[in-house]
Each structure stands twice: as C-alpha cells, then as structure tokens.
C-alpha cells in the first residue's frame, strides 16, 4: 500500500484544521450557507434528505485494517454504528452533525485518510480494479498509476473549478472490472509492440442523464508521458468545456459536440507544450510509489486443509464457488465478501462487521482490504489453507453470503432513503428482489447476472450498465421504476436500452420475476448466462414477459 509521506500527512492535517475554522465561521454566522456550501463540498460534506453526509475518499478502493478500524470507530462515535460503501469505492457516513465533522476529519487524518475531492467540480478520487495487484488475469498492477494520478490531481490549482466533476479510472487487466469505458478518462495499462509499458487512453465515457461509452483518444501512450497528456486533456476541457449548462458540461458532451478528431488535435497540440514542463520528477515519484506496491511476502504452505474442507463442508464449498477469484499465486485466492446478505442494504456494513473485516485482513490477507464499486469488500491475498478459518469468522459475523455475481449481488445507490437528488427509493427495491429470489431458491439456477439500481437520472447506481438496469423516477406523484436491458460495464461496454413503460413500487419485483422467468424459458441451457441469452434472442421474449397485456409473441 502507499505510505503517506510527511508532506501528505501535513497536507491532510492542515486541510482538516482549515475546515474546522470554516465550520466555526458558519456556526457563528460569519459565513452564509451560500458561502459555506462550496467549502463543505470540497471536503465531501453534503446535506441530504435527513442529515449531513460525509463522503470519505478511499483512493482506488484500498484500505488497511487500521483504516477500516478507524472507519468503524467513526461509525460508532459520530454516526449510527454503520457505514455505506459506495459505487465509487468510497465510504459514506449518513448521520454526522456539522459541529462534529472537524473531529471526524481529524480522526481520518490520523490514519492517512480524508474527504477531499469527493465532491465538487474537480478531479474526483481515482478508482481502479478492486482485484489490482492480485488477480491472475492482470497484465500490470494499476495501483501505482492510480496513486500517481491521485497525487497529481490532489489540490491541482488549475483544476479546482472545472466545468463539472471529472472521474478517472485505471485498469491493468483485459477484463475491465473498473468500468473504465464509463469514466471521463479511462486508462488501460498496456504495452506497445516493442514491449514498452504505457496506456490506452479513453475519454468521454460516463453515465448520468446522457450515457456515453468512452472513445479511444490514444491507443498507446508511453508511461512517462502520462501526466503531461492528462494535463493536456484537462486543460483543453477546462478551456472549451461548457459552463452555460450543467447538463452539458461533462467532457463527454464536449467530445460529442466537437468530435473526436477535433479534441484529439487540441490535446496533441497542448501535449506538445506540456511535455517540456515535465522534467522526469513525476517518473521518480512513480518509481517511489511502485516500491510501495511490491507484492506481499506470500507464504509457501500446503493447501491440504482447504482441499479437505472443500470435499467435506458443503457450506464452505458453496462459498468458494461464488466468492473466490483466481489469484496470481495459485496457492492464494481473492475473497469477495458480500455486503448483500438477502434483505440487507447493498453496501452497508455495521461497525462490528467492519472490525471483523479488519481483523481478518490483519491476520489472513496481508493487512489489505479493497472496496469494490459493486459495493462489496475484497480480501485480496488469502492463502487457500486459511480460507476455511476466514469463512468461519465471516459466517459468525453474517458476512458469508455466497452470492457474488448472482442476482442478489445487485448494486444500488442510496436513493430517496437518503439522497436529496433522488426521485425514488432504491434500497427497498434491492432488498425485495434479493429476498424474492432467495425465497424461490433460484439464484444459482439463474447464474451470473448484474442488476443495478439508480434512484435518479444521475445514475450513481450505474443502471445503464446493468444487464438489467432499474431507474427510479417520479411519475404522477408516485415512485415509478423503468427497466433497461442489455447494459454492460465490462470491456464489452454497452448501454442498456429501456424496455418500456415503468412499473410502480408494488409492480417492480413481480416484473423482474417475469423477466427472469422468460430468460430461463429461452436460454439454451444452464451455461448460457442472462446477457449471452439476451444478445442471442434480443429483447422480444423479455418484453413479452414484462408487458404480457400487449400480446407480444412469447
């Protein structure tokens, strides 16, 4: 993991102290709400439906056990004993009090954490593959690049007031688990024909009210040229990105309106100027960062106990089938801990569960945890012989739900249960879908599927890239849920298409049940997953099940 330098520690502590003064001035009336709002947003503090919400950055989703314990302490001391892990690999506290937020920021600073740039029209906390540095299919570890981008973008004086927020994601694997094609900039680590390391750079992806798939601006960029190239992109965007209409201010719209070739020409022209400004210091910094991301000292030990348990313990075996991912070291596994127990709120963890996860990480996962954008917690390096013990502790803590990649492993933004922008609730829909298919005992029959639920058009629940997307809206004074079909956030990026008219809150779960029933009817066999079936047969049989009154052919 990246270790904070004295500079980093001082920066974070100073910002916390500055915010304490700003809060004090707000409370004593020296600052109006209009004056204070941009200051609190710069420090991740929102005012939502029922209370303030503090969004804490977890750059590229990486946490130490010490940091997880600190988050649990914050949940107990200043919140209601739980935290919400978000679709941006961050963590949110939904009940802090204004006058106590400076104390929370101080507590975060003691474990090298903060809430800076988790809001506002700036470069947001950088995201990455939650299996980074561990996955067997990884070509190169994206975390050093993600950390370099974090350092470059933190408090960057020129990019503090962009036309709109700006999100960067990095992956080092062909299998894109970081949804890079739906970020303002997506970086994929690659090599050129000579074997030199570099990046494929995509620009202009995004979800929200105008979903777009990112387009390749540079198919290969040398590693050493990354920061000047990013600087060039951001400068072009800062200059020509629209500020007259917030709905047209993201770089995806800039790219759409100007065209890829125009943007490429502008960026390349600017890049030629920027390159001379970077004298190699950034590469020295990158080299130092890389030394922080050396693989841990993996142990060499037999896996006989693991094999015994696999053969004799059916509950453990079921867990290994869904919640493990192949590790680079064949004696190790990556464990995904589901925060989607049937009926639970996706992404929520109690302080007790957070401490259990920290203890497991400290003892069995080289002190590392990850937060996935799919709202689960990852233990990236667990020796296979330790898996039965890890599973037992997870089981006792209510964290051993064996449903990763299945229908109840759905993601949902907080929706109108918390969010001020939401037009409908989401968590309640997520809970009911998970409970329904658990009761039907159909999850494993259905197989791999991704349902994603957003509570408004801003799409924090990534509904556009759900194999089944659900968008909560308000229609005539009631909550209405629109279904989209065929979305894909992987390397095969696709935006789901609306299936038809929306369903009320009472109708949405039966509609999903009919939809799944139609899939089971038309799939070739159990090996053909939902998305493959959808691609083969198209939307007609699904729509016929969703809207039987229309009399579409079955």
């Amino acid at each position: 993991m990246y270790n904070y330098t004295a500079f980093d520690k001082d920066f974070v502590a100073t910002r916390a102290a500055q915010f304490r003064g700003q809060v004090q001035r707000r409370i004593d009336g020296s600052l109006t709400e209009d004056e204070f709002k941009p200051l609190r947003l710069m420090n991740g503090l929102y005012l939502l439906l029922h209370a303030y919400m503090l969004r804490v950055a977890i750059p590229y989703g990486t946490l130490s056990s010490r940091q997880m314990v600190a988050l649990a302490d914050i949940a107990d001391t200043w919140d209601k004993g739980y935290a919400h892990f978000s679709t941006r690999q961050n963590v949110q506290f939904h009940w802090p009090k204004l006058q106590e937020v400076p104390d929370i920021l101080d507590a975060l600073a003691t474990v090298d954490m903060h809430a800076i740039q988790t809001s506002g029209a700036c470069i947001r906390s950088v995201t990455s593959d939650h299996f980074a540095g561990a996955s067997a299919d990884e070509m190169a570890d994206p975390r050093p690049t993600a950390e370099l981008v974090r350092q470059w973008s933190t408090d960057h004086p020129e990019f503090a007031f962009l036309p709109r927020k700006f999100k960067v994601a990095v992956t080092g694997s062909e299998h894109d688990r970081a949804v890079t094609k739906f970020h303002d900039i997506g970086l994929r680590l690659t090599q050129n024909e000579a074997g030199a390391p570099g990046y494929e750079v995509s620009v202009g992806g995004g979800l929200g009210r105008t979903p777009m798939i990112g387009r390749v601006l540079r198919s290969f960029l040398h590693q050493a040229e990354l920061l000047p190239y990013l600087e060039a992109i951001l400068q072009v965007y800062n200059q020509i990105g629209r500020r007259d209409n917030k709905y047209k201010a993201r770089i995806k719209i800039t790219l759409h309106e100007h065209g890829l070739e125009d943007i490429r020409a502008r960026v390349e022209e600017n890049f030629a100027l920027q390159r001379s400004r970077f004298d190699g210091v950034d590469q020295d910094i990158l080299a130092r960062i890389e030394s922080d991301f050396k693989p841990p000292a993996f142990k060499s030990a037999p896996i006989t106990y693991f094999e015994e348990q696999l053969a004799n313990n059916p509950i453990f075996r079921a867990f290994t089938k869904t919640n493990l991912h192949p590790h680079k070291n064949p004696d190790y596994s990556i464990v995904t801990v589901s925060l989607k127990a049937h009926g639970a709120t996706p992404g929520d963890a109690s302080s007790v569960q957070m401490r259990v996860l920290a203890e497991i990480a400290a003892r069995w996962s080289h002190d590392e945890l990850r937060v996935s954008h799919e709202q689960n917690i990852i233990l990236p390096h667990v020796h296979k012989n330790d898996l039965p013990a890890v599973h037992k502790v997870l089981l006792d803590a209510g964290l051993a739900t064996a449903n990763i990649g299945l229908i109840s492993d759905l993601i949902a933004c907080p929706g109108m249960d918390y969010c001020d922008l939401a037009t409908a609730r989401t968590t309640n829909v997520a809970q009911r879908i998970a409970q329904k298919f658990d009761a039907l005992k159909q999850e494993h029959t259905i197989g791999p599927i991704k349902i994603k639920i957003s509570g408004c058009i801003n799409a924090c629940g990534h509904h556009h890239v759900g194999h089944i997307g659900i968008l909560g809206l308000e229609k005539a004074g009631i909550e209405s849920y629109q279904i989209t079909l065929g979305g894909d956030g992987s390397q095969n990026a696709a935006i789901g298409k609306p299936a038809g008219k929306g369903f009320s809150s009472d109708e949405i779960v039966p509609a999903i049940e009919r939809l799944i029933g139609a899939y089971l009817d038309v799939r070739k066999d159990a090996s053909e997953d939902f998305l493959s079936t959808f691609h083969r047969v198209g939307p007609t049989p699904i729509k016929a099940a969703l809207y039987p009154q229309k009399g579409l052919p079955k």
Binding site: L47, H50, W95, L98, T345
Partner: protein, 101 residues
Amino acid sequence: MTQKSASQIITANDLLSGEVVYFTKSGAWSLRHADAAIIDQPDHAERSLEEVTRNDASVVGPYLALARVGESQTVAPVHFRDAFRSIGPSNRFIGKQASPA
C-alpha cells in the same frame, strides 16, 4: 385520513444536526411534521418563507411543502418525498421513526 384541504408548511434542515425541522405557529422549529404551522394562503406562504430565509440562520434550505389537514386536524405530508423526510429511511428503523415523540 379524510382529506380536508391541501395547504403548505415550511420545512428545512437544522444547521447543526442536519435534521428535518418544521416551522411551527410559535415561530420555533419542531422535529415533528405534525407540529408544522399550516399556511392556507399562497401569498402568505411565500412571504413567510422569505422572512424565514432572510432572518433565521439556524436552518438550511427552507422551502414550502404541500401538506394535508385531516378531519382530526392532523397535519400530514402530501408528496412521498416529504413523507420520507418526516419519518426517516425505509431500509432501516432509524431517524425520526426511531425517536420518541
């Protein structure tokens, strides 16, 4: 509840706690929707909101919300968003619904 009329109330979030609050007849803020002062005249409602916005620094984001008055004079929200604000999240038993009246 039998609907008697659709009126307006003033609601906001408390500056310090962030909690949802309702403007009462006495000019104070209450945590309970049922305590909200009903304003029947649209002009009066706008003027009251302007006054609160201008003079009261203890709350954030005051706005007018539709409310219904039942036959028993109970004040209830009209829009589902205001109904959620008045009780707390539906996914957990926390917030106002878990607080003693």
